[in-house]
C-alpha cells in the first residue's frame, strides 16, 4: 500500500517535471562565425549569410531570423536567391548545390532544404568539367546557369534540379562561334562569372578566367558578341543593358559597350586602374548603379596598391566627385547595394558589406555616408568577451536611462532606419525587459537588450577613462589626413586589439533597482558606478586594499596596479564611476557581489576577499585566504610555470582535436575501411608518442590556488542564534572552504557616520575540498532569499524568517545543504562521484508551470564540464532533469555560460555568437516570423511545369506584362478563398516535392 502510494507520488512528480522543464536551444545571437557567402533578395528584403561550417542564416526585419544547417560539413561558397521567389540556392565547397525554401507552417515560416544536386558530367570526364565556379539564378526563376571549371555552362531547371542537356552551353559551342584568331592564342579557362542582361533575359554574358567575355543568346544558342580582356575577376551589366563592366586581377576595370551582333569590332570604351601607377591588387567585384539625376555610383572591392596598402580591406565608392575608400578591419567577404523605391530599382540607398567579423551598412543617401547601426548581427566580440552578466526584469526607469545614454553615444550613426525589413516578426512582445551585460578585454561593458530574439546593443560603458593608459583613447578616431590617397575612411567596430590587458572586465554586478553597478577587472580594480543623465566632471575616490594582511614572504610577480587619473575626469552621460577599490596585490578579481540596500560590495581575488562600504568609502574588513605554501597564487596570472604546462597541454589537445575534425571532414567514401585503419594506427601512434596520463590524487590543502575566492554572497539570515537574523557575507574558495561573516549595519539614520562592522561567524571546510562555486541561503519555506531591494520594491515575497534557514553550498563535486544557525550537514547530492562530471556554472532559477499560472518552484541550474545542464531541486537537492547542451570539448562555451533567473541561459558558440537556450516551459524567446512570397512577380503557374518541357523565356515585353499580372494577383489574393486555395496548391506541391527529394537523398 505504501509502496503504491509512493509510486503514485513519483508519477505525479514526473508529470510535474514535464510541466516545469523543457530544454530548447532557441536562437543564436550575434554575428555568425566565419561567414563565407552573402546573398540578398531585393524582393523579399532578406539577407542570407552562409558560413564555413555549412550554416545558412537569413535575416530580415529585426526579429525575423531563420537558420539552416547543411548536412555536409562543408563551407557555403555562394548563396543566390531565386529572383522574386522564396527559394534560395547554396553552393558548397564540395560542389553540391542545395535548394532551400521558406515554407509557411502553422502561420510561421520555416527554412527548409528541399533539394540537393550535384552536376554529373559525361562518363570519364575529369572532375573539373563539373566543378561549379559560377552560378546565375536566372530572372525567370526557373533556370540556374552553372559555369564550371572546365569552361562549360550547364543549364538546370529549378526547383527540381533537372538538367536541361539540350540547353547546355559547351566550350565547343563557344569556340565555334567566335573568331579563330582569338582562340588560337589561349585557353579560355574556367567560367569566372555569369551575368544576365537586365533588359533582355535571353542574353547572358559568360566571363572566362583568361578574360574572354562572350554574350550568349540562350534562345538562339549562339554568341552575340565577344569581348577580349585580361585576367577576369568579375563582371557587371549596367542596368540599361548598354554596357558591361569587367574587373581584372591587375586592379583595373573596363567598361564595354554592348552593341548589336552586327557590330563586330568593339573597342574598350574605358579602362582604368583607379589606384594605378604601381602594381595593384585585383578588383574582385564591381558594381555600377545609376541615380535618377546625377552621376552613377561605382563601387568596387579591392584594387589597392599592392606594396603600400595591399593589406587593407577596402571597398571604394565613387559617386561624382566623392571618392571614398571604406577601410574595414577584417577581410571582405562580399557586398551588395540596396536600392530605394517600391520595386527596388531606384537610387542606391545603402551599401551592405559583409566582412569576416561584422556586417557594416553604409547610408548612401545621407551626406558623409554615415554608418547605419545594425539592430542584429552585431559583433559581440568587437573586443573579446571576458565575462557576462544577465539581469532579468529591469524596471522601466533604469531601462529608459540606459537607452537615453546609449542614444547619446550613437550620435554619429545615420538616422536612417534599418534598410532590410523583410518578413514579419510575429513573436509576442517580450514579457519583461532583460539586460545582458558583457565585459570585454578592452575595459568596456556592453549593455544588450536581451528581451527578444534580437540582441540589440543599448549602451557601451568604457571604464578605461578612469585610468591612465599607454594609448591615447582618441588615437583611432582621428580622421585621415587631408589629401591622403587613397582616401581611406575607417569603418566598422571590430577592434580586437586591447591596449592594456589589465583593463579587462572580469566580474559585473548590476543592481537593477538602485542602478548601482560594480565592475571588477584584471588588475584587481573594482569600480562602483551609478547612472547619471548628464555628462559630469569629477574625480574618482580611490582606496587601495591590502589583501595579504601582512603575510610575510610573498612577492607578487604579476602586473602592477592600474594608474588612476587623479585629476577630475569628464565622464559622458551614462554610468559614471564614483569609487574605485584597488586590491593589493593587483590580482584578477575572481568574485564580486553587490548589496545595494546595505551599500556594500564584496570582492575576492586569489589572495583573499574584502568587504567595502561604498557609502562611507571605507573598507570594512579583509580576509586573507592564502595558503602559505601556495606559491603559484603569488605570481599572478602570467606565471611562467603554469603557462608552459598549460600551453603544452593545449597543444596536445589541439593536435587531437584537429585529428578529430579531419576525420569529420572525410565523407563516406569507398575507402572507409582504409580510413578506419589509418585512424586506428594514428591513434595508436599517438598513444605511444604521448600517453595522456591523469594523476589520481586526493585534493589537499597544499594544492595551488586553494585560497582563490570563487563566490561571494550576501544574505540576511541566522548565523549566531535562531532568533536573530543579521546581514551576513558568505565566501567560498577554491579549496572547498566557506567563510561566513556577520555584518553589523548601523541604524539607517546613522548609516552615513557610524562604521559598519563585521565579525567571523562560521568557517566550513568541505572534506572533499572541491572548489565552492555557489552559496545560496534558503528561507523557512525552502525558497532562495530574494535579491536585495526586491522586497522593498514589492517585486518579491518577503522571505520566511520564522522557520529555520538552510544554506546550500555548491562545490564542483557536490551540492550540500547545511542547517543554520548551527551548521550541520542535512542533505547532499553527489555529482562527480557518480558520473564523473563536475559543476562549472550554477545559478538559481524560478520555473513556472506551463499548465497552471500560479505554480512554480525554484531550482539550481547547473552546467557541468561535460556540457550537460541539470536542474537540481531546492531545498531537497534532488536531480530533476538533465540535457546535453554544449559539446564537452567546447571549453570556452562552457566557461562563458550565464543563466537567467527564469531558467534560460546564454553561452558563446563562437567568439562572436551567443546561443540562447531555455530550460523552462514558460519562458521561451525564439524567433516567430513569417515571410510571404513576393506578390508582384512569380507567375502562378511556376510550379506546374509545362508538359512539353519547353520553357518560356521572358521576352522584352515582359516588364509591362508582369506589372499587369501583379495587379491581377493583388485582386485575387484579396479574396480569402482564392488565397487559401493557392496556398494549398503551393504547399501540396512543395510537400510532394520534398518527399521526392527525400527519397532521392536516401537513395
Amino acid at each position: 500500500m505504501k509502496r503504491f502510494r509512493r509510486h503514485a507520488h513519483e508519477s505525479q512528480r514526473e508529470r510535474l517535471k514535464q510541466e516545469l522543464f523543457h530544454f530548447n536551444k532557441t536562437v543564436e545571437h550575434g554575428f555568425p562565425h566565419q561567414p563565407s557567402a552573402l546573398g540578398y533578395s531585393p524582393s523579399l528584403q532578406l539577407l542570407a549569410i552562409g558560413t564555413r561550417s555549412g550554416a545558412i542564416k537569413l535575416y530580415g526585419a529585426p526579429g525575423v531570423e531563420f537558420m539552416g544547417l547543411h548536412d555536409e560539413n562543408a563551407a557555403v561558397t555562394q548563396v543566390h536567391f531565386m529572383p522574386h521567389q522564396v527559394e534560395l540556392v547554396t553552393l558548397l565547397d564540395d560542389n553540391s548545390l542545395h535548394m532551400w525554401t521558406l515554407r509557411g507552417h502553422k502561420g510561421i515560416s520555416e527554412l527548409l532544404e528541399i533539394g540537393r544536386f550535384m552536376l554529373t558530367g559525361p562518363p570519364g570526364a575529369p572532375p573539373s568539367v563539373t566543378s561549379v565556379t559560377a552560378v546565375l539564378a536566372h530572372s525567370s526563376g526557373e533556370l540556374l546557369l552553372l559555369g564550371t571549371e572546365g569552361g562549360h555552362v550547364f543549364v538546370v531547371e529549378v526547383p527540381g534540379f533537372r538538367e536541361l542537356e539540350e540547353r547546355n552551353i559547351s566550350l565547343d559551342q563557344i569556340t565555334n562561334s567566335i573568331p579563330d584568331d582569338y582562340l588560337g592564342r589561349r585557353n579560355l579557362e574556367h567560367v569566372e562569372a555569369l551575368v544576365e542582361n537586365p533588359i533582355n533575359p535571353s542574353q547572358v554574358v559568360i566571363g572566362y578566367g583568361r578574360g574572354l567575355m562572350v554574350i550568349w543568346d540562350l534562345e538562339k544558342k549562339n554568341a552575340v558578341q565577344h569581348l577580349p580582356a585580361t585576367q577576369l575577376e568579375s563582371m557587371w551589366w549596367t542596368e540599361d543593358g548598354s554596357h558591361i563592366l569587367s574587373s581584372h586581377s591587375d586592379g583595373s576595370y573596363c567598361r564595354w559597350r554592348v552593341g548589336g551582333p552586327e557590330e563586330e569590332e568593339e573597342e574598350e570604351e574605358k579602362s582604368d586602374i583607379p589606384y594605378g601607377h604601381f602594381p595593384c591588387k585585383a578588383i574582385s567585384k564591381i558594381v555600377q548603379l545609376p541615380t535618377e539625376e546625377g552621376p552613377p555610383f561605382l563601387l568596387f572591392n579591392g584594387g589597392m596598391p599592392r606594396a603600400s596598402y595591399g593589406d587593407r580591406h577596402c571597398i571604394t565608392v565613387i559617386h561624382g566627385k566623392t571618392h571614398v575608400a571604406l577601410d574595414f578591419t577584417s577581410r571582405i567577404i562580399d557586398f551588395f547595394v540596396i536600392r530605394s523605391g517600391p520595386q527596388h530599382t531606384g537610387d542606391p540607398s545603402a551599401l551592405v558589406v559583409l566582412v569576416e567579423e561584422e556586417v557594416v551598412v553604409i547610408d548612401l543617401q545621407t551626406e558623409g555616408w554615415p554608418v547605419i547601426q545594425t539592430p542584429y548581427l552585431v559583433p559581440l566580440h568587437s573586443s573579446a568577451i571576458t565575462c557576462s552578466h544577465h539581469v532579468s526584469a529591469i524596471p522601466l526607469k533604469l531601462w529608459e536611462r540606459i537607452i537615453t545614454s546609449g542614444e547619446l553615444q550613437n550620435a554619429h550613426y545615420s538616422k536612417k532606419p534599418w534598410p532590410i525589413m523583410g518578413g514579419q516578426n510575429l513573436a509576442p512582445d517580450p514579457p519583461q525587459r532583460d539586460l545582458l551585460l558583457t565585459g570585454h578585454e578592452d575595459g568596456t561593458v556592453r549593455f544588450w537588450d536581451a528581451s527578444g530574439v534580437c540582441l540589440k546593443p543599448m549602451y557601451t560603458l568604457r571604464t578605461a577613462t578612469a585610468f591612465h593608459t599607454d594609448a591615447d583613447p582618441n588615437d583611432n578616431m582621428n580622421p585621415s589626413a587631408e589629401g591622403e590617397w587613397p582616401p581611406f575612411r575607417k569603418v566598422g567596430c571590430f577592434d580586437p586589439y586591447s591596449d592594456d590587458p589589465r583593463l579587462g572586465i572580469q566580474k559585473i554586478h548590476l543592481c537593477k533597482y538602485s542602478g548601482h553597478l560594480a565592475v571588477a577587472g584584471t588588475a584587481g580594480q573594482i569600480l562602483m558606478l551609478e547612472p547619471n543623465d548628464e555628462a559630469a566632471e569629477h574625480t574618482v575616490e580611490t582606496k587601495v586594499v591590502d589583501l595579504l594582511q601582512g603575510q610575510e614572504g610573498f612577492r607578487w610577480k604579476g602586473h602592477t596596479r592600474l594608474n588612476v587619473r587623479e585629476d577630475p575626469v569628464e565622464f559622458p552621460a551614462g554610468f559614471q564611476p564614483f569609487t574605485l577599490v584597488q586590491c593589493q596585490p593587483p590580482a584578477v578579481v575572481t568574485a564580486l557581489s553587490l548589496h545595494s540596500e546595505w551599500k556594500l560590495v564584496a570582492f575576492g581575488t586569489s589572495h583573499g576577499f574584502g568587504l567595502f562600504d561604498y557609502q562611507q568609502n571605507n573598507n570594512v574588513f579583509v580576509r586573507c585566504t592564502l595558503n602559505p605554501s601556495d606559491q603559484l597564487a603569488l605570481e599572478g596570472p602570467l606565471s611562467r610555470v603554469k603557462s608552459i604546462k598549460k600551453s603544452l597541454r593545449q597543444s596536445f589537445r589541439r593536435i587531437r582535436r584537429s585529428r578529430v575534425s579531419l576525420r569529420k571532414h572525410h565523407a563516406n567514401n569507398a575507402a572507409k575501411i582504409q580510413e578506419a585503419n589509418a585512424r586506428m594506427e594514428a591513434e595508436l601512434a599517438e598513444m605511444e608518442l604521448a600517453p595522456v596520463q591523469r594523476k589520481i590524487e586526493a585534493r589537499s590543502s597544499d594544492d595551488s590556488f586553494t585560497g582563490l575566492v570563487r563566490t561571494l554572497y550576501f544574505a540576511d539570515t541566522f548565523l549566531s542564534d535562531s532568533t536573530h537574523h543579521t546581514p551576513s557575507l558568505w565566501a567560498g574558495t577554491n579549496g572547498g572552504c566557506v567563510f561566513a561573516y556577520m555584518i553589523r549595519l548601523p541604524a539607517i539614520e546613522h548609516r552615513a557616520d557610524e562604521p559598519v562592522t563585521a565579525q567571523p561567524a562560521k568557517e566550513i571546510q568541505l572534506m572533499h575540498r572541491a572548489p565552492v562555486l555557489g552559496i545560496v541561503v534558503l528561507d523557512g519555506h525552502g525558497a532562495p532569499l530574494p535579491e536585495p531591494l526586491e522586497v522593498a520594491h514589492d517585486l518579491a515575497r518577503s522571505p520566511d524568517m520564522q522557520a529555520s534557514h538552510h544554506v546550500v553550498v555548491t562545490s564542483e563535486e557536490q551540492f550540500k545543504v547545511f542547517t543554520l544557525p548551527k551548521v550541520s550537514s542535512k542533505m547532499k547530492l553527489k555529482l562527480t562521484a557518480v558520473d564523473g562530471s563536475r559543476v562549472r556554472r550554477v545559478g538559481v532559477a524560478w520555473f513556472g508551470s506551463s499548465r497552471t499560472e500560479d505554480y512554480g518552484e525554484s531550482g539550481l541550474v547547473v552546467l557541468t564540464n561535460q556540457g550537460d545542464v541539470h536542474v537540481v531541486s531546492l531545498p531537497h537537492v534532488k536531480m530533476q532533469v538533465h540535457y546535453p547542451c554544449i559539446r564537452r570539448e567546447d571549453v570556452s562555451g562552457i566557461a562563458s555560460c550565464v543563466f537567467t533567473r527564469q531558467g534560460q541561459g546564454f553561452y558563446l558558440i563562437s567568439p562572436s555568437e551567443f546561443e540562447r537556450f531555455s530550460l523552462s516551459t514558460r519562458f521561451l524567446v525564439e524567433p516567430h516570423c513569417l515571410v510571404e512570397p513576393p506578390f508582384h512577380s512569380a507567375p502562378l503557374s511556376q510550379h506546374q511545369p509545362e508538359p512539353d518541357g519547353a520553357h518560356r523565356i521572358p521576352q522584352d515585353g515582359e516588364e509591362a506584362e508582369s506589372t499587369a499580372r501583379s495587379i491581377m494577383e493583388h485582386a485575387l489574393l484579396n479574396d480569402e478563398k482564392v488565397l487559401q486555395e493557392i496556398q494549398k496548391s503551393l504547399e501540396g506541391d512543395q510537400t510532394s516535392f520534398l518527399e521526392n527529394s527525400m527519397k532521392s537523398a536516401v537513395a
Binding site: R694, Q765, S825, T832, N865
Partner: protein
C-alpha cells in the same frame, strides 16, 4: 628447516633446552616437550629460577626465523616449546621497563633476533628507538582491502583504498587505452582506462593490489565504460577518501581462486582465496620491497559502499573546530566492524605477517607511517592463527 635440525630434534625428542636471559643474567633449564604445562606455571617457573618472584615480566623468545616473539598465553607458549630446536632462548624484561607496557599484557614485540636482542638488552638504546608495537586488530587502520571476492568474476579484483587521515598519497596515474573483448561478432577492440603508473611509496603501490596496465572497470560501483579519461579522473578524485576500484589485473596469475559451488560457505571460499592471497603476498614481497601491506578481504553491502565519511570541518565563531557527523551510520570506517571474524581472515592476516617475519619489518618501521607502526603489534587471535600455521608447518616437518 629440515635435515640440520631434524637430527637433534630426533635425538632429544622429549627435552627442551631453555636458556633464559633477564638483564645480564642467564638461567639454563630444561622442559619436557611432550608435557609443557600451562603458561602461568611456566611464568611462575621463570620468576622462580631468576629469583624475581614479584616482578612483572615480559617473556619473549627467538623463533626459528630469528624473530623475537612473545610468550604470554598457552598457545604461544606451546608453540615456542614445540618449535624449539633444541634450544629455546628466552628474553625477559620488566614490564615497567618496557615502554610499551601500557599496551597491556597482550601486546608483543617482534624483532629480528640478532638486532633486537641487543636492543632489548640495553635500556638506553631502547629509549632512543622505541620498539615497534602491534596492537589489536581493532586498532588497525586498514590501508587497502580486496572486497566482494565472492560476487566478482575471478578475473576481476575489487580493491578498496583507504585514504582517510593518511599522509600517504594515493599515488597512481591512469591513461586511455584499448582492450580486446570477446563478443558474438568476434574480437572487438574497445576503449578502456588503464593504470599507467604507480608512484613509488604511494598507497596504490604499497598495497601491491594494483599494477601498471591493470584495466579499470569500475569506480565505487560505477562502470567507467563510455566515460572519458577526465571523467574517470574526476570520479576517482571525488571518491579519493574511500576509493573502490574494480580492475582487471594485467597479470592474471595471482587471481583469487574460488572453489566452485562450495556449499555457499563464505569461509570456505575465502579460505581458498586467502591461501592464494598468501602466495600473492609472497610475490609482492619480493616484487616490491616496500612497507607492509595490510589487506582484508571483505564483502560490503551497497549501503556500506555508500556510507561516506566526509566530515566537513566547521569552526563556529571563536569556538573549537568540530567535525560534522550527520547520521549515526556515518562513522569513519572503524576497522572493527569491517573485519569478518572468520578464521580464514585471520589466517590470511597471519600470512601477511609472514612477510614481516621474512624481513620487511624494517621497511615498515622506517617508513614511519603510524598505521604501520600500529600494525606491528599483535593480539591473541592472530597469534592463534600463527600457531595454526606453524602447526601445519610442523606437520610438514614431521612428514619430512
Amino acid at each position: 628447516m629440515n635435515k640440520t635440525h631434524r637430527v637433534p630434534s630426533s635425538r632429544s625428542l622429549s627435552a627442551v633446552e631453555v636458556k633464559s636471559k633477564f638483564g645480564a643474567e642467564f638461567r639454563r633449564f630444561s622442559l619436557d616437550r611432550s608435557k609443557p604445562g600451562r603458561f602461568d606455571e611456566f611464568y611462575g617457573l621463570l620468576q622462580h629460577v631468576h629469583h624475581i618472584p614479584n616482578v612483572e615480566l615480559l617473556v619473549a623468545y627467538a623463533d626459528v626465523h630469528g624473530d623475537l616473539l612473545p610468550i604470554n598465553n598457552d598457545d604461544n607458549y606451546h608453540k615456542a616449546i614445540s618449535t624449539a630446536n633444541p634450544l629455546l632462548r628466552l628474553f625477559l624484561q620488566r614490564k615497567e621497563e618496557a615502554d610499551y607496557a601500557a599496551f597491556g599484557t597482550d601486546s608483543l614485540t617482534r624483532k629480528k633476533n640478532t638486532v633486537l636482542s641487543a636492543v632489548l638488552l640495553r635500556p638506553d638504546a631502547n629509549k632512543k628507538k622505541p620498539p615497534v608495537i602491534i596492537s589489536l586488530p581493532k586498532d588497525f587502520r586498514p590501508v587497502s582491502s580486496i572486497i566482494d571476492v565472492d560476487i566478482l568474476p575471478e578475473t576481476h579484483r575489487r580493491v578498496r583504498l583507504y585514504k582517510h587521515g593518511q599522509e600517504k598519497p594515493l599515488g597512481f596515474y591512469i591513461r586511455d587505452g584499448s582492450s580486446v573483448r570477446v563478443t558474438p561478432q568476434g574480437l572487438e577492440k574497445v576503449p578502456g582506462i588503464f593504470i599507467s603508473r604507480l608512484v613509488p611509496g604511494g598507497l596504490a603501490e604499497s598495497t601491491g593490489l594494483l599494477a601498471v596496465n591493470d584495466e579499470v572497470l569500475e569506480v565505487n560501483g560505477i562502470e567507467v565504460a563510455g566515460k572519458s579519461l577526465d571523467q574517470v579522473t574526476d570520479m576517482m578524485i571525488a571518491n579519493s577518501h574511500n576509493l573502490i576500484i574494480t580492475v582487471k589485473p594485467a597479470n592474471q596469475r595471482n587471481n583469487v581462486v574460488r572453489c566452485g559451488g562450495g556449499g555457499g560457505a563464505a569461509s570456505g571460499s575465502s579460505g581458498r582465496s586467502s591461501d592464494s592471497g598468501a602466495s600473492y603476498y609472497g610475490y609482492s614481497a619480493h616484487g616490491a620491497v616496500a612497507s607492509m601491506p595490510t589487506h582484508i578481504i571483505q564483502n560490503f553491502s551497497a549501503g556500506e559502499l555508500e556510507s561516506d565519511e566526509d566530515e566537513d570541518l566547521v569552526i563556529e565563531a571563536g569556538g573549537e573546530a568540530e567535525a560534522i557527523r550527520h547520521a549515526p551510520s556515518d562513522y569513519s570506517i572503524p576497522s572493527v566492524p569491517r573485519y569478518e571474524p572468520h578464521l580464514n581472515l585471520r589466517s590470511h592476516f597471519s600470512s601477511a605477517y609472514s612477510i614481516n617475519a621474512n624481513g620487511t619489518l624494517h621497511g615498515s618501521g622506517s617508513s614511519g607511517s603510524p598505521n604501520n607502526i600500529n600494525a606491528n603489534s599483535a593480539s591473541p587471535s592472530p597469534d592463534r592463527a600463527k600457531e595454526r600455521r606453524s602447526l601445519e608447518e610442523d606437520g610438514t616437518v614431521i612428514t619430512l
